[in-house]
Each structure stands twice: as structure tokens, then as C-alpha cells.
Symmetry: C2
Subunit: 311 residues, 2 copies
């Protein structure tokens, strides 16, 4: 006999890349008895039914949340508050409510007021994704070897935090906890500002009058194409991230600009040593990322089958 699933009934609200990957991974791992899915877009609901990645496709978020032991909101962060308002009163006693938002402060601000005292809200953020969107983009292995961060709101939530952590581990993730505030600063630097500057450089390139868009595309293998991957991430999701992590993003962006101005000055004044020293330092960080299994060691991200494996 297999072990009993971690949760009898899990509701996933929002079946994009992340939501649909959770559905697939939770079923594949035997973590859930009945998996209920809902999306506000009827086309997505129909597609989820077609894909067969949920046991039940509900019509509304409120209906999906009812009787669920675990409810995970997987909408863009700007929509989390409205979803919480809709489902809050329908949560059953003892239910765990969670989310997957890339921003935690604003999500807590918007969702927490709607959570009844007999349920527990445990905010979460899996550090995984691709540039693709929608229910077809998800896959069961998305979270394998990646971090899932929980930002518990109270020490009293410890047992629910542990249970939610076990759910993420069951999908192959490694679990970390940190405060809401620290989360938002960490992800401003490792995710939000990098996305912003990727979007920005792609926009700048598209707008230069002296260089055609066709040239930019043709010669993109010289560096530019690396930026276009994350600059093709879901526009709604990312708009919401920037609007909802404003303070941390602006702070980190200020640092970035300060540093860039210093580099610009070093170029203008021909200060080769300053450039060389930075370029040497940054190389070491890449090495650590590869050593810690957070990226591939293959040159060019292993894009080219013809590139030799590193030994």
C-alpha cells in the first residue's frame, strides 16, 4: 500500500506555468488525493480538462477552495488580493492557504486580511520557471532541485509551515524560510532588477534608429540573445511584480545605476584595471553557481549539442 497523500484535497487557482506544474508534480508525486483546478479564463479551464492534469475543474475560485485542505493561489500577484477576498470565507477550518508570488510583502498585505482565524496563510515562492506561459508550458519536473521559499507570518504556524514544506519537497524542491521583508530585497536583486534590465536593453536595441531590428536579431548570438529569454517572460506577471515590489526594486536599481555610472566613467577615462578587476570577480560568482548545481556547466548553457562537455 502506498502512503496516504499529504493532502486529501488541494485546490490550485490559476493554471499558468507554475500552477499547471504544481498540478502535474503533485499528482506525479502522489501528494494529493483530489486535485481541483480553476482559472478565471474559460479557455484555460477547458485546456486543463483536456490535458487531464486535474481531477476536478471548478467554475469559480470560491467553489474550488471549498473543502480544500490546501489552496494555492497561482495568479499574477496583482490578482491575489481579489482571489483571497473571494475565497476567504469559504476556506474550511484548518485549511492552509498559500501562493507562489515572486513578491511577498504586497501579497501578504492584500491576502492576509481575508484569511479567517481558523485557517493559516503561509506565503510561498518557488524559485523556478521558464520564459513560457500557460497550462501547456508546465511540467512535473519544474521544481526538482530548485528552492521553494516559505515566509511564515507567525511562529504559531510552525506545523502548517512544515506540512507545506513537505508538499514542496514532495515535488522535488528544497525548502528555505525567510522573512517577508528579506525575501523582497533578495529577489529584487536576484530576479526583479535582472528582469527589468533585460527588458530594458531589448527595448533600447529595438528603438535605435541607426541599427535595424533585423541586425539586432541576426547578430544576437553575440550576447544579446541571452537577455531576450527573460525579456520574453509573461508581461502581466512581471508588470505586477514591479508594481508590487516597488521600494526594493527602486533601491536595488539605484545601486545598479550607481555602479554602472562608475563603469561608464572607467570606460571614458580608459581605466582598464577597474574593468579587469570587476570582470575577474564576476567570473568567480558564475563558478559558484555552477558548483552549487544552480546552473549547467556546459558552455552556452549547453545550447549547442556540438559544444564539448566540460571535464
Amino acid at each position: 500500500m502506498a502512503d496516504a497523500p499529504l493532502f486529501d484535497r488541494v485546490a490550485i487557482i490559476g493554471l499558468g506555468l507554475i500552477g499547471s506544474s504544481i498540478a502535474r508534480a503533485a499528482k506525479a508525486g502522489g501528494l494529493v488525493g483530489t486535485l481541483v483546478a480553476v482559472d478565471r479564463d474559460p479557455a484555460v479551464r477547458a485546456r486543463v480538462a483536456e490535458l487531464g492534469i486535474a481531477d476536478v475543474v471548478a467554475e469559480t475560485a470560491a467553489e474550488a477552495a471549498e473543502d480544500a485542505d490546501l489552496v494555492i493561489v497561482c495568479t499574477p500577484v496583482g490578482a491575489c488580493g481579489a482571489v483571497a477576498a473571494e475565497i476567504g470565507a469559504r476556506l474550511k477550518p484548518g485549511a492552509i492557504l498559500s501562493d507562489v508570488g515572486s513578491v511577498k510583502g504586497a501579497v501578504v498585505r492584500d491576502m492576509a486580511p481575508h484569511v479567517p482565524p481558523y485557517a493559516t496563510f503561509v506565503p510561498a515562492h518557488p524559485i523556478a520557471g521558464t520564459e513560457d506561459s500557460g497550462p501547456d508550458a508546465g511540467f512535473a519536473e519544474l521544481f526538482r532541485g530548485r528552492w521553494a521559499i516559505l515566509t511564515p507570518l507567525s511562529p504559531a504556524d510552525a506545523s502548517d509551515v512544515a506540512r507545506l514544506g513537505a508538499f514542496w519537497e514532495g515535488m522535488g524542491a528544497m525548502v528555505d524560510t525567510m522573512s517577508v521583508e528579506h525575501h523582497d530585497l533578495v529577489f529584487a536583486i536576484v530576479s526583479h532588477v535582472p528582469h527589468l534590465i533585460a527588458y530594458n536593453i531589448v527595448g533600447t536595441a529595438a528603438d535605435l534608429e541607426e541599427v535595424t531590428q533585423q541586425e539586432v536579431i541576426k547578430y544576437s548570438a553575440s550576447g544579446f540573445r541571452d537577455f531576450t529569454r527573460i525579456a520574453s517572460s509573461d508581461p502581466t506577471m512581471w508588470r505586477d511584480v514591479f508594481l508590487n515590489n516597488r521600494e526594493a526594486v527602486l533601491e536595488v536599481l539605484g545601486r545598479f545605476t550607481e555602479d554602472l555610472t562608475a563603469l561608464q566613467r572607467a570606460i571614458r577615462w580608459g581605466e582598464g584595471d577597474a574593468l579587469f578587476n570587476l570582470f575577474t570577480r564576476t567570473r568567480a560568482i558564475r563558478r559558484s553557481i555552477v558548483e552549487q548545481g544552480q546552473d549547467t556547466a556546459a558552455p552556452d548553457f549547453g545550447r549547442r549539442a556540438t559544444a564539448p562537455a566540460k571535464d
Copy 2:
């Protein structure tokens, strides 16, 4: 009988990623009779002999260039002038001199004065590479399906330009020509400034006091790691690029900063539509790059074997 090779004797000066890839590709394609290699670093010369990727390993650049029909300088661009000064008088009548530098204006400025009237200098730039360096990093397929840009200096060089173009095509590249000035502006936007901002964001992240380097590494899969690849490119090569394409880099950097300031303002004032519109535009550019075969369609650059192929 196989066709006669395009060039009887080819000298490659500087056996890093690009030089050693040319050696491998030229031999693999039967493009060259005798391939002579030289590097100013004795350890590299020894390694090249060990790898067996050249027919002759010379002791000095001057010796390598002598009697060669084609000489390709593959050193960092800052060293091109000194190499040209060393080999100029040793070039044989009718020889073609070329290079692979990411910057063309400064290379022409530094090399052209040393080229005797009986030889032809045809500057070149293959749009290919990985973040790795040194003679072991090269591979014969590096140029396959990638662009090689020639920036001819005079209409009188047409037949030599065609011959050098055929050499690059023989290594699998597609050949384009453009002016020196236009090249330097195009690559400021598609390559140099992207590298600079990648180096910069990695440096900014490493220096934040509130976020540990360990956190940056752990959570890098959320976007940051994409930047670390190009920020681990060869420091000497890139120092030289920025010092030698100063005007175009500063101009494009000015545009980038202007655009970033506008984005920053949009975030501060909560202008979601401006963000959404940019993020939608940039997505289309990624699509074109993939359609034109300049990047993989696989999510996450195909990093994860578990990600589904796109259909």
C-alpha cells in the same frame, strides 16, 4: 581526389577559444594545407602541440606569419597592433591578413599602418563564442550557422574579401559585409553593452550588504544566473573591447540609461501600462530570434533535459 585547400598555408596567432576553433574547423573542413599556430604564452603553445590541432607550432608570430597565405590574428584586440607591427614586414606578397576582433575601428587604426602594400588587410569578426577561454575551449563546430562579418577597407580588395569569405563559409559560417563604423555601433548594442550590464549587475549583487553572496548564488535560478554566463567571459578580451569601442559603447549606454530611467519612473508612479507595453514588445523580438535560428526554442535555453520540447 579532394579539392585543393583554399589556402596552402594559414597562420593563426593567438590560440584561445576563437583561434583554436578556427584551427580545428579549418583542418576539419580541409580548407588549409599547412596550419601554423603561435601563441605568446609558452603553456598555450605546448598545449596546442599536445592537442594536435596545428601542423606546426611556431615560436614567434613573425616566424608563423612568414610564407603564410592567410594570417589571422586572434589575440585580444588590445594586442592586435603590436602583433601587426611584429609581422607586417614578414608578410609575403599577396598574403591576406585578417583578425577576429569584436571591435573593428580600433583594430584597423592599430593594424593597418603595419600592412605592406603588397598584402591585403581584411578585418573580420565571427559572431560566435562561449563564456569559456583557452585552447581547450575551442571546437570545430563553433561557427556553424553563425555569422562572420567582414569589414573590407577598399573596393580594390574584392577578390581577397571573397576568398576570406569562402574560408569562413567553409567553416560553416554565413558571411556578411559592412563598414567598420557601422560594425562598431551594431556590436555596441548587440554585444558590448549587454556584456557591460551583465558584468555590472553581477557586481552590484556581490556588493549588497543586506543580501549575502550565498543567497545570490542559491536563488540565482530566478533570473540572475542568465547574466552570470556572459559575465564570466574572458576579462582581458572584454577590457580591451570596452577600451577600444569607447565612443559607441558610451553612446549606446547613454540610451540604455535614459530608457532605464523612464522605466524607473514608471515603477515609481505605478504606470502599469507602460511596463506592460514594453514587456509585450520585447517578447516579439525573442520570437524572431528563435525563428531565425539564432537561438533555441527550448524553454530555459534547453538547460533542463526535463523541460518539454516546444511544438
